[in-house]
Symmetry: D2
Subunit: 501 residues, 4 copies
């Protein structure tokens, strides 16, 4: 650093470099080691670095990696410093002298390295997150599958609407979640491109082979333009958008489940190991995990705001604002999102449904009135609006618990008033309309809750879940193989030395 004559100001050191180093050792160094190894292997392959030099560098690299894996101390920090990267370089210079230890740094920069570390780190976290998501989707599908016939009151505007099943509700939520997880999966592809070779953002005059570096690091492709490579973080917008969409959907599911877990509904519940009690109210069984889910689920949205705020009005080029600050909320948001997903999975897996409470609740709700109106259309040829109007009056004049006979007695005069002619209703037919389970069976069209229709939806979703799993498997395999290959290639180069002796 010949350009500067003084170390960092102590305040900078305390507020920026020191806390950053602690985090970088954990989150950056493992990737830096791999990137450095890949770069050296490539340079050697292109003749840009003497084989002897490459060997020496890779040996140090390998040793550092081993120590890091073994949780041993590496890169001791002096009383003041300018961050991990310069400590890392310094280590090589100290061990190998400036001519060998300082040789690897051509055709690269902290800019492309930082950009690459961020993508590798995100890639790893996304693989875990996507696996969590797959678990959630599969568990949700299984839970739905168990409740195809679990008849429940459906709601709109938080008022009883029409009979449905727990399966139908869950499959609706699952449909949205599956789309959003697919979306997150597509975002993975946007992450999976390698910026190495871009150097400071202006490429290099050294004839590097960036495709080779990309392959050694397990990337599917390179980022074509070097300005794009260091300046853009649109992949993070994609990831956080998809995660925010997943999150907001989970808050909706949790909101419904929490309402239904209250004693007023009593439709669902959880065993004692998933609820808490109160420090003051002895009777309490609180399904509090739903509240963690609701809270954790919003973090991606806020992190997205941080990212967009962070990128806004920045130059399109490398800057700390973009490469470090704008991404600062990404990492905790991924962790929060993963927790929300895993906790929801747990709650669905252990969900207790109480069909008796569901049936009892339906009794008093008039939720089958649409079926009565539909029957007036199909059996008595009324226009739907007329039928609806008549049944609306009926609903006003009777109780939710009225019997078919009572309803008939009330409805016939209403119909006469409205249509000017007498209509004789069939009490058995009316009773059938009032039967929530029969309504559910009948609702076989337009994506309704009829068990067979829902089963079809679940089958179609299962195929999508399977494809997600398969893509995930392939990606993991590619990442693992690349890591192995890099070690093998590096080992080969290192071993030449001993053969050579």
């Amino acid at each position: 650093m010949g350009r500067l004559t003084r170390p960092a100001d102590p305040v900078l050191f305390q507020l920026l470099y020191e806390p950053q180093l602690a985090s970088d050792r954990r989150n950056v160094l493992p990737y830096l080691l791999r990137i450095d190894a890949a770069h050296v292997v490539m340079l050697a392959g292109r003749g840009l670095l003497a084989l002897e030099t490459a060997r020496a560098l890779l040996a140090v690299n390998e040793e550092l990696r081993r120590r890091l894996d073994a949780d041993e101390a590496v890169l001791p920090a002096p009383a003041t410093h300018r961050g991990l990267y310069f400590l890392y370089e310094q280590e090589y210079v100290e061990r190998l002298g400036p001519q060998v230890g300082g040789a690897a740094h051509l055709a690269r920069s902290r800019n492309d390295i930082n950009a690459t570390v961020a993508r590798m780190r995100l890639r790893d976290q996304l693989l875990d997150l996507l696996a969590d998501c797959c678990e959630l989707l599969e568990t949700m599908a299984a839970t739905a599958g168990e409740h195809l016939e679990t008849t429940m009151c459906g709601f709109t505007h938080e008022q009883p609407a029409q009979p449905t099943t727990l399966a139908h509700y869950l499959t609706g939520v699952l449909s949205e979640l599956t789309r959003s997880v697919d979306w997150l999966d597509q975002a993975y592809a946007a992450v999976d491109c390698c910026p190495m070779g871009a150097a400071a953002g202006f490429g290099t005059s050294f004839p590097v082979d960036r495709e080779e570096v990309a392959r050694l690091l397990g990337f599917r492709r390179v980022v074509d333009n070097s300005a794009d490579a260091v300046a853009s973080r649109d992949y993070a917008v994609r990831v956080l958008s998809a995660l925010a969409a997943i999150g907001v959907c989970l808050t909706r599911l949790a909101t419904d489940l929490q309402a239904w877990a209250g004693p007023a509904h009593g439709f669902v519940g959880w065993p004692d190991d998933l609820v808490s009690t109160s420090s003051i109210m002895p009777q309490k069984r609180n399904p509090f995990v739903l509240e963690n889910v609701r809270g954790l689920s919003t973090e991606a949205a806020a992190a997205l705001v941080k990212l967009l705020l962070g990128l806004k009005n920045t130059p399109f080029g490398n800057s700390v604002e973009v490469s470090l600050e704008a991404l600062s909320s990404l990492w905790p948001a991924l962790e929060a999102g993963s927790k929300a997903v895993r906790l929801t999975r747990l709650l669905l897996d252990r969900l207790q449904a109480f069909p008796g409470r569901m049936a009892a609740f339906l009794e008093g709700t008039q939720a089958t009135m649409t079926a009565v109106a539909d029957m007036l259309v199909s059996r008595h040829a009324l226009a739907f609006r007329t039928a609806h109007d008549a049944v609306g009056r009926l609903a006003r004049e009777t109780q939710g618990s009225a019997s078919a006979a009572e309803l008939r007695a009330a409805l016939e005069p209403i119909l006469e008033r409205l249509t000017g002619r007498r209509t004789t209703l069939d009490e058995a037919e009316l009773r059938h309309c009032l039967d929530a389970r029969a309504c559910v069976q009948a609702a076989a069209h337009g994506g309704g809750p009829s068990p067979s229709a829902v089963q079809d939806q679940l089958r179609s979703l299962a195929r999508r879940h399977h494809r997600l799993r398969e893509r995930l498997r392939v990606r993991r395999a590619r990442a693992t193989e690349a890591e192995k290959r890099l070690r093998d290639v590096a080992a080969e180069i290192r071993d030449v030395r001993f053969q050579g002796l």
Copy 2:
């Protein structure tokens, strides 16, 4: 509305129904007419509506459409009402009597209709927005193509970094924008699914043909699950996320252009019809449109926050909060986004570049020092870090305007101090390093600004732009054809009548 005995409270009418109706006439009614026609055609086709009834309904529908297209008054609003949909129904009942006029309303609900209107409206706006985006991408590519050799100082941290070209910079931005427009284009597919048939969110017992309705409305597919159909708005999250990503990228481009348009840089400018002056400062030429772009570009991000806030902790089912309120910022954000895109296109199309100012600026910046360090590596076998260190000292000790001879005189002693041996530098070689145009030509690797490398990038982007255009063309055609087909089928049914007489 037999259930309710009183009209809306006057405050509700004033704050909600009345302003909403004004907007709905413009934005909802055209789609409602098409949805209604498609529903009636389908019902008639499935035998759920007598042909005679369908004819009468479609005739009114056709007349309303014609009047609307001709900007004539339709659906006169009484002193109080409950919104467009009930006025719409009322119109049919008044014209055709309750038995015919009220017949179409089976197997549907405001819930699935609203959900369908929102998607159709968004689909139309997206087609326009995507066309605007294609224009922007193509104009940007053309502008970049004109400046492959326009050598300019590249910046990192807003400090001179290395020589680049205007084309390289623009191609970097274009690469990100192309990805984000692709992303927006994918979001279109998420929008393009039809919720009709879901009714209130619980499907229907009438054997409707929702695939037919979807086809008649130009949708690619139906939404499988009826709860999903009325409850989810994830497609809007996708659209706004992609638009927010485009927007934030435009703020970065505008930030750079505005900095470069200042007299301190003077790299670019615009003619008088694209700048403004001041009401007080007579000398002013303000490229103010860049500030509109920066401002308009942020609206999608804020609308996304509105949407996520709007969806958070809502029941997964139909509600006004989701179907109306959560989307309220979507529409103005699409308009703002479209303006930002079109204004940016205009600014790029009319951009004046001043290569002389660019070259003059480069002179004093030491932006070619990396080339000097690279040369020390490749010609004098220094380790890069040593070379970098030496040139750093050189940069400290000399001016940006120093000649090759002066630099040689300064650098040789530095090298000797650092390496302990004498290095003799070739002045011509050094002069070549200091030549920004030569640096640009040399930066042919890692996605650098060498003209031929950038041209390759532009070719690859042009292929993507072509594919975008092609998809857009197909989508527009599908929408247009569906609209035509619906009119034809409806006309056929209406015409049967006259044949029948």
Copy 3:
């Protein structure tokens, strides 16, 4: 505009100037007229403008104002233009010739005028909004006052917690809302400062009297520093923050009311003119206005994001991005916020409470178990944790509907097991603990629901509401008087002319 040789590009005209003019005629022109009049009056008073000139200018000003008030056309727009301000100036020049018509424009700029218009417009809207808020607070207090004894189940984690009253709950919400309205009221003071005199942001060499202009426009004080005057919009951050806080509190109130309005609880409801029914489900009575409230309440938060995004990384000086774009969401957010406040007021004013349903619900909830534990502490000297533990077991082993006798029979053995000694419980005392109304009466400490305690809280809040009202009255009076005074002073100057003749 001698600097520029060409009119605005047609695209600029179509996308920016034309739509802006339509809005500016309504929202800017009335304020521009007042500012212009005050500026001319001040210039004349300081001898910076000949009285004759001032007279002529004020006569045109007065005429324009009258026409605007009478809804007559003013400032006809030519086929192309550069916005309202230049049209406004042009009108004077055309009427009075350049020497008189162009005379008022010294020591001012669009920059300080725009900054002043925004504050005046916001001031007016805030006065209305604060009046709406006062109505809400007073209505809420009145509703609470009617329900001091309306015993209800209190909830935590959406599970029954302890007995409370509707009044206690509402007073809790009211306490927060009162603070936030106070906060909004403080934000008014931040708005109420006059930027005039700052000109383009660098003050002026003309010896203007900016305090006089401020007084004539009804401002409490001037903005000291001219850069601050044109660059800062922190007052808008304050207004939107306070409104966002009010909004999010309203979503919480609406969430509770909507849950309690469902048939599962049935605690509250509204008459037919405040609910809607369904187009398909005849039985429906949806309290949908709560959903509008929830949705409208989030708009301020999103507008705040827009504002912060809009300001981020802008130069601290005048720019379109700051003066126009950053504020673009402020205006619709104020309207949405006002609607949310007024609709909530309406819902509280017309709220129907059903104490019978509340009491019935409490029966089965074990919400009085804390009282049992408290009794064990105060009467039987148990440590609270032991008492809590014992009653927790009791709650597990018995039903919510268990009688005092049953509970005694179950609790005594539990106590013996836990403490190792026999405890004899008093059944009457136990019955008293189980009486929710008695629990409420007893909860007289720590801000609990005891009616007299809540009444005290309401009295204290009423004093704060009264002070708010009083401040509002004073502010309105100041604004009205300033407007009148400006007219009087301007009329005096105009009249001199006729006297002079």
Copy 4:
């Protein structure tokens, strides 16, 4: 916890309880100890706890506090648990037996304790943050005071506008920052209220003295209503809003400073210990800290979004979503905000201004053209618009570097063309207009940059800074004294024992 029969599920333990405990030991336990002590002291004072019991409890409390202060291990966590609070209680029971160890828990709940901890923790952090802010304001005022005569080009729309001084610019920013810090200071008062006594949110039947608890904990007042006490977090909205306002203002300052630190302007700079170089570009001196400032400054805005999202549609009562999750981003945002404030202070403190570069830049900018127009008004009685028009043409026809003689030669014919009469300009006067320093001296009105005007502004700001400091001092003193008093009172109670023996 008699209600529950099973420990927490291992997944809950791993994802929620375990990581939370690690954080709670550091951030919650110190406050819990104080709250517990104050509660016990109050209970003893009211006769609700035997003195003997209070003594024993306070002795354990004191020992735990000492161990915590000494960084010794406390509250060993078993293999599974339900969080810090229950571990804390358990510790007392284990040491003192259930009858004494479990005695303190009456008339309180985790709900009011959590609410109190959050406010105490925030109070402490705000005191530090406010002290940082005061430092920033004072440093900024000092830096401004040093540059009252440092003449600089002022900008609007990033184009040269009029001459100003560095002091004038900084004082503008300082004016806004001072308001926002005042606002943050007011938010402190909102935080400084004590929720203890609210228990679960429904108060208590035990005759507690909550004012005494508040005093012992250093709070200025209690929260009146117990529902409000546990449910509301509006104080956090206030704090984050004010911090977001400060943050966005800092991004604007940093944006300007970074532009001016580029070689194109070269107005300002920093010594080597505040800049960084590049790992690839040897010439680099990057003022990168400005980018950290810009990034860190946005975190409060994003945390505010998290908070508002977290609160939206939650019941107004205690929940994990509100008490824990909604606040989760508050704490890191306070830290980021503090860093941004301290780094900005450092940069201002060490700012190097280069008046020579500033003057040279002004030369070519025509930034004095407004002065020319003003002169035409005041000396030649032109209407301002005419003068502006003439000088606009002049600016078009001449260079920024034109001499007074050249301008005169160009301007006289323009004036003749425009006004139809000859005007003879005074060259000396014109030269005076072109003198940027003279312009600055003249700009003594409307808050302009004239040194004496700016000095007045700085004096007025200094008084506000002094008041801020004074309030801060009083608050710190109150907090310190309360902590001391609580220890004294607790010690007195503990000591009675030994006296009693």
